[in-house]
């Protein structure tokens, strides 16, 4: 009898573990590589971020960065640092300053026969094309920068890319998602789009609803009325046709940027019977849309990419943010189970808690360094890893290394640069926002929640890269006859 009892107990233990694996989406992802995911497609990466090689970050303060001068690797950070988009500049700056501090503490990068430190230079685009043109020219001709990196706003990124192409200077796009930036018309060998792109986001979201979640069927598209918003919507519609043909788009609207009153759109959405509102809105529109929807009694969940700004989430509160479906270009399911990532995260979070006392870096927006901040920071690390492996700042040598390169972010995300059109391939995470008590499934280290005043990522799923490959323009000669992987 004892023996039978023991066997039953062992069986129950194994069964419980098995059940946990089945019912915890995050854990399920870790068990083995999902078909079509980067982990399956790229079993061995060319380079990876190694947290154990990081420099001493204890004196890092984004408000007072130590910027070296002299014979350095000069990088222009082309972002709006003034005007309505200035917050985006601050978000970018902390990433650039962080990476430069880290690399410089390691002693710099060995290029062109000697070790050089990284010098980041703020180049204020003010979100204005004419100013962006002027500042990019100045950075190239006067400051003699090695790389121009941008930015928030595809119209500004286009100017950065054009400047790079004219002067044969490397340009990197880590912040603009418009597919057309690297199409047959606009492609430049000197530009690398290490960010994700609109069609990827749209198709990944459609795949999630059609092939993973399989619940809601009625979608309302509400995006900003410019190329980015339309691109995201097109990607979603394409994805629904492919992955969820029985889904129904019950309405589609595009609103002007920086809209004041969303109520008329929300009333239409309510009347449409939509079960999900799909939006690509970014701040401040994202916050205002969410806030006004809850104020007008509409609790429909948003499938979103930029509705993750913590200050805005806190304003709406736990109940109002519950159920949001957020697609992320940095976070990964199970990343808090990765000791390397936890170490990296802890360095950042501890500095935020103890050292960053000046606005805006002392706000909750910068508490975790995840999401867009994490994505931009790791993309900069990738860029410098390529320069280091090229052993040169010569654009031709860097291009040679970066085309087809693969890199692993600190949180396990694998990214590949498609050689033919310089667009990045990666998996995507989609997370459901749940109350702080339920966030332990994701945030598996103390305090086991992101914030106490708002819902945040809980159950998370991985959309494999193969299901949301970046759009490829076959008219671009270099990409003719290539598949989505660029092969």
């Amino acid at each position: 009898m004892k023996c039978i009892g023991k066997s039953v107990l062992i069986f129950l233990c194994i069964f419980s573990l098995f059940s946990l694996t089945i019912y915890s989406p995050s854990t399920a992802m870790a068990a083995k590589a999902i078909p079509g995911s980067m982990a399956e497609k790229v079993p061995k990466v060319n380079a990876a971020f190694d947290v154990n090689k990081m420099g001493n970050m204890s004196d890092f303060d984004p408000s007072n960065p130590i910027i070296p001068t002299g014979d350095t690797i000069k990088i222009a950070v082309v972002w709006p640092f003034s005007g309505p988009g200035a917050l985006n500049g601050e978000i970018a700056w902390i990433g650039f300053a962080w990476v430069a501090h880290d690399i410089n503490k390691r002693g710099g990068i060995w290029v062109d026969g000697k070790k050089k430190l990284i010098e980041m230079i703020k180049a204020d685009s003010m979100s204005k094309p004419d100013q962006a043109k002027k500042i990019c020219e100045r950075m190239v001709l006067q400051e003699k920068v090695n790389i121009l990196v941008g930015t928030s706003g595809s119209n500004i990124q286009k100017i950065i890319n054009e400047t790079g192409a004219t002067h044969k200077v490397l340009t990197v796009n880590i912040g603009s998602l418009a597919d057309e930036l690297n199409d047959a018309t606009n492609f430049s060998r000197y530009n690398f789009m290490s960010s994700d792109s609109t069609e990827q986001i749209g198709r990944a979201m459609a795949y999630f609803y059609g092939q993973i979640r399989k619940k809601e069927k009625k979608f309302y598209i509400l995006c900003q009325d410019y190329s980015f918003g339309h691109g995201l919507a097109e990607g979603f519609k394409t994805g629904l046709k492919e992955y969820y043909p029985e889904a129904q788009i019950v309405g589609e609207d595009y609103h002007k940027l920086f809209l004041t009153d969303f109520a008329p759109y929300l009333t239409k959405i309510k009347a449409s019977g939509a079960e999900v509102i799909y939006t690509g809105d970014w701040t401040p529109d994202a916050g205002n849309l969410l806030k006004q929807s809850r104020q007008t009694g509409i609790m429909t969940p948003f499938a979103n990419i930029f509705m993750d700004e913590p200050i805005m989430l806190h304003e709406v509160g736990v109940e109002g943010t519950k159920g949001l479906m957020h697609i992320d270009h940095y976070n990964m399911p199970n990343m808090f189970k990765n000791p390397g990532y936890v170490k990296y995260y802890s360095i950042w979070h501890k500095l935020w808690e103890t050292k960053w006392k000046t606005a805006p870096f002392n706000s909750t927006l910068f508490a975790h360094g995840t999401g867009t901040i994490g994505s931009w920071t790791q993309q900069i690390y990738w860029m410098l890893s390529v320069v280091e492996r090229a052993k040169s700042t010569d654009p031709e040598k860097v291009i040679k290394v970066w085309e087809g390169d693969t890199y692993k972010f600190v949180n396990g995300r694998i990214i590949k640069m498609r050689a033919c059109d310089h667009k990045a391939i990666q998996d995507f995470e989609i997370a459901e926002y749940v109350t702080p008590e339920q966030q332990k499934v994701y945030f598996s280290i103390p305090p086991y929640h992101w914030f106490t005043g708002a819902s945040g990522p809980g159950p998370a799923w991985l959309v494999p890269a193969a299901k949301a490959l970046p759009w490829i323009d076959q008219k671009l000669e270099r990409c003719a006859d290539k598949n989505g992987w660029g092969e």
């Binding site: 003034s82 005007g83 309505p84 988009g85 200035a86 917050l87 601050e90 009325d225 609207d253 595009y254 609103h255 002007k256 920086f258 004041t260 009153d261 109520a263 008329p264 759109y265 009333t267 239409k268 309510k270 009347a271 701040t283 401040p284 916050g287 205002n288 806030k291 006004q292 104020q295 007008t296 009694g297 700004e309 200050i311 805005m312 806190h314 304003e315 606005a359 805006p360 706000s363 927006l365």
Partner: protein, 290 residues
């Protein structure tokens, strides 16, 4: 009320609420232009500044009503300072000088806001009593938006009474019509204009507080709403309070019904209406030909 009817009614009330917000901003701008001939390009910045004051007062006291009282007064105080120490001296140099001065002041306010409050989005919570919905014959409608309509109505009534039923109103209107004559009667015109400027910025301040719980308070707030206010003033006719009221409501309704019926054209429907009005009446709907 059936679902379709309630949707159309809701759109109408949304239009009215947004129109009232526009009125609050635009009427302050209009009062200043109408009485003093100054096109105050810093008006949007004052509106934004008041939203920031509201945030700070709310943070310190937790009392929205106190913020509604104090923030517009602080804003008006800065408006008075601007008029007394900067614009008054520029007045002799003509409108171009005033335009440049107010533009410069708007940039200074923007920079100051970033220094004192930072660039991040700041939350302003509405008072609990104004949260939630109220039933209007079966239509569930947010209480706060009805509050906006009511408050704007009160401000409109006060402004009308002040301008048309008080001695101060008579003096102001007389000063607009014939400044020298009023001056000769022993009335201190510069002080009158300073008060008018203060009232105009106070109205921008009220709008800033009222809109803060609906919108994100951030340094781009002035640009976000300021342009619509200018469109109201131009379409309604410079200096016309009646024009500001009527055009604000028309703009609000065009905006909400535009989204309902012509959503692709919604972003330009206000501008289209302005173009139509100006083509027929270049001085605006209720503007007076110079």
């Amino acid at each position: 009320m059936d679902a379709t009817t309630s949707m159309y009614v809701a759109q109408g009330i949304h239009g009215l609420a947004y129109g009232m917000v526009l009125f609050l901003i635009a009427s302050g701008l209009n009062v200043i232009f109408g009485m003093m001939g100054i096109l105050n390009l810093a008006h949007g910045a004052f509106f934004m500044l008041s939203a920031y004051f509201c945030y700070s007062v709310l943070n310190l006291t937790g009392n929205f009503w106190l913020a509604l009282l104090l923030a517009p007064l602080f804003t008006a105080f800065f408006g008075i300072i601007l008029e007394r120490f900067f614009l008054r001296k520029m007045h002799a140099m003509g409108h171009m000088g005033e335009l440049i001065m107010t533009l410069g002041v708007s940039l200074v306010i923007l920079a100051a806001v970033k220094i004192f409050w930072g660039t991040e989005n700041l939350p302003v919570k509405m008072p609990p009593i104004l949260e939630g919905m109220v039933s209007l014959g079966g239509l569930e409608y947010p209480v706060y938006r009805l509050f906006i309509i009511g408050l704007a109505g009160v401000v409109l009534a006060i402004m009308t009474l002040l301008l048309y039923k008080t001695r101060l109103g008579k003096i102001v209107r007389a000063a607009v019509s014939d400044r020298e004559m009023v001056n000769a009667l022993g009335i201190n015109i510069p002080v009158v204009f300073m008060v008018v400027f203060g009232v105009g910025t106070w109205m921008a301040g009220v709008a800033g507080v009222v809109i803060a719980p609906i919108l994100t308070v951030f340094p781009g707030l002035a640009d976000q709403v300021g342009m619509d206010a200018f469109l109201v003033v131009i379409t309604g006719g410079f200096g016309s309070l009646l024009g500001a009221v009527i055009v604000s409501i028309i703009f609000g309704l065009l905006s909400s019904y535009g989204v309902q019926f012509l959503s692709q054209l919604a972003p330009v429907v206000m501008v289209g209406f302005m173009a139509l009005v100006l083509a027929i009446r270049p001085s605006g709907l209720f503007g007076v030909k110079e």
